[in-house]
């Protein structure tokens, strides 16, 4: 019985992650539009965009290889699996022991690897710009994320996300300096990895300012739909991650009743809305940085992660 309810929870989480991601993207866009004093597109516009893209014909360059055509599926699959393993509304996911935080980050890394290759596949200059800038940001954001994972793992004595969430929601962990540093670092890494302002403008039309958009410049139709959906799922993943680590009290215990799962679900939607709102405010109040100022920004996250790890190595109580 427990097994079946755990399995049900896991499957529901997988569907939730997929269905809520475009809604989150639409909500953030609406918040930004309202703050800029215009109406903005409807909150469900991303769903309409995805359906429209699915129905369109795909135009593929003549010299595209099989990597170009399979990369969207691989990127989507890796991102979806990673997002399905991050607790959203309930703790104790059935397969949480198969992949810990390091593995989740590595799966997102695989998605990025294939997206960068797809950017280089056609052999245009813009694809090259996107891929090389993406790899530069990744060369700083990935180690920053890894050091932040170390910080959290040193406090929780495990890299398993369910153990981390479990420990952080108990009173045993108070406010700690290293966790404060990890939180600031995680927010910076989330902004860098999702291509949000100030790292990358998701709504830009100027090719020389693009990073993520430049890699997917040649995509159209159903391929583009999958890549857009994967990007939304990635944003949802990072927000869920920040939520489940730093605001873990809303997660439902495993084996609880259906009503507590329902409350957990509502609280999770509220958490998404709150973080989406904050993201919208942050993006509106800051400008996009020049590409070569990004290493300072993302490097700051790397230093914060290193500082958190160092503090925990030096003193167990920090």
């Amino acid at each position: 019985m427990e097994l079946i309810s755990s399995l049900l929870v896991q499957i529901m989480q997988m569907m939730l992650v997929l269905l809520a991601a475009p809604l989150l993207t639409g909500f953030v866009r609406k918040v930004k539009a309202r703050l800029q004093r215009h109406q903005g597109p409807s909150v469900i516009q991303p769903y309409r965009d995805l359906l429209r893209l699915l129905k369109k014909e795909v135009v593929v360059a003549e010299n595209a290889s099989w990597i170009f055509r399979t990369a969207p599926y691989l990127v989507f699959a890796a991102t979806w699996v990673a997002a399905a393993l991050v607790p959203t509304f309930a703790k104790g996911l059935l397969f949480s022991w198969s992949a810990d935080l390091i593995t989740i980050m590595a799966m997102l890394g695989s998605a990025r690897f294939f997206l960068a290759l797809a950017g280089m596949d056609i052999g245009t200059a813009f694809g090259g710009i996107g891929s090389s800038r993406e790899m530069m940001i990744a060369s700083l954001a990935e180690p920053a994320m890894l050091l932040i994972v170390f910080t959290m793992a040193l406090v929780a004595h495990s890299t398993q996300l369910s153990a981390v969430a479990e420990l952080f929601s108990s009173p045993a962990v108070g406010l700690r300096v290293s966790l404060g540093l990890a939180m600031v670092g995680l927010i910076v890494v989330a902004i860098a990895e999702n291509g949000r302002i100030p790292v990358d403008n998701p709504a830009t039309h100027l090719e020389l300012t693009m990073v993520h958009e430049a890699m997917v410049l040649e995509y159209s139709g159903r391929h583009l739909a999958m890549i857009e959906l994967a990007a939304s799922v990635k944003l949802l993943l990072y927000i869920s991650l920040i939520g489940c680590i730093f605001v873990p009290w809303t997660l439902t215990e495993p084996g609880a009743s259906a009503t507590s799962y329902f409350t957990g679900f509502i609280l999770y939607l509220a958490k998404l809305a709150a973080f989406g709102f904050l993201l919208g405010i942050f993006e509106t109040s800051i400008t996009k940085m020049r590409v070569f100022r990004l290493p300072d920004f993302v490097g700051a996250a790397l230093m914060l992660g290193l500082l958190g790890t160092l503090l925990l190595f030096v003193s167990g109580s920090l």
């Binding site: 406010l175 540093l181 300072d296």
Partner: protein, 221 residues
């Protein structure tokens, strides 16, 4: 870990001070540096208030108030006005790149943690770690003074160094005369700042004689 809220809040505020010191190291514009310094002063006054609360030492409330009024409001606003009036160059040039500066900062934090935690093995854990953070702030302030070419940023570095000393002084229980020492330091800094600007004025106008300077003002009264 079992230590209570006092531990955690004190650590969080001290860690916040170290974080703001790093933030000050990365600033390239003078106004942003002053804002960061104001933030550091606010955090310092919060930290001293908390210590006053925990140690039941009412004279520390006065220190906190001095830090808040003087260093978070008066000095930054004053420096802002002076920079505007004298047209001081507002970009901060650094001697070494920002990546190297950050790495050096990390090394200094590691050094101060190692030294402090090694040298005081039997002391109260809260005080040890606060001292370690305070030493980090002092060293980071020194780093800022050494790696910046702009006079104002060196003054700000000196003041941030002093913030670290105040943190150390209040963290150690029962240090007497903290209030008096804070006031004395603040006056010292005021003289320092004034001195720097007197030199600037003399450089620019070849004189600090007020009557001669009067001739350079726009309209005669």
């Amino acid at each position: 870990m079992g230590h209570g809220l006092t531990f955690d809040v004190a650590h969080l505020l001290a860690g916040g001070l170290v974080l703001v010191s790093f933030l000050m190291l990365t600033q390239h514009r003078l106004y942003a540096l002053l804002n960061a310094f104001a933030l550091q002063a606010v955090l310092l006054s919060l930290s001293v208030t908390w210590q006053a609360n925990v140690q039941n030492a009412p004279h520390l409330y006065v220190t906190a108030l001095i830090a808040l009024v003087f260093k978070a409001i008066i000095i930054p606003v004053g420096l802002h006005r002076i920079i505007q009036r004298l047209g001081i160059h507002r970009e901060i040039e650094t001697v070494i790149g920002s990546g190297t500066t950050m790495l050096a900062g990390m090394g200094l934090v590691a050094l101060s943690m190692t030294v402090m935690l090694k040298v005081t093995p039997t002391a109260d854990p809260l005080a040890r770690e606060d001292l370690a953070f305070a030493l980090s702030v002092v060293l980071l302030g020194l780093l800022m003074m050494v790696t910046r070419r702009n006079a104002v940023s060196q003054v700000v570095g000196f003041m941030s160094l002093e913030n670290g000393l105040v943190l150390a002084g209040t963290g150690a229980r029962g240090m007497p005369l903290v209030v008096e020492i804070s006031v004395a330091f603040s006056i010292l800094i005021a003289f320092f700042v004034i001195g720097v600007f007197l030199f600037r004025i003399r450089e620019r106008f070849d004189t600090v004689d007020l009557q001669a300077l009067d001739r350079f003002r726009g309209e005669r009264r």
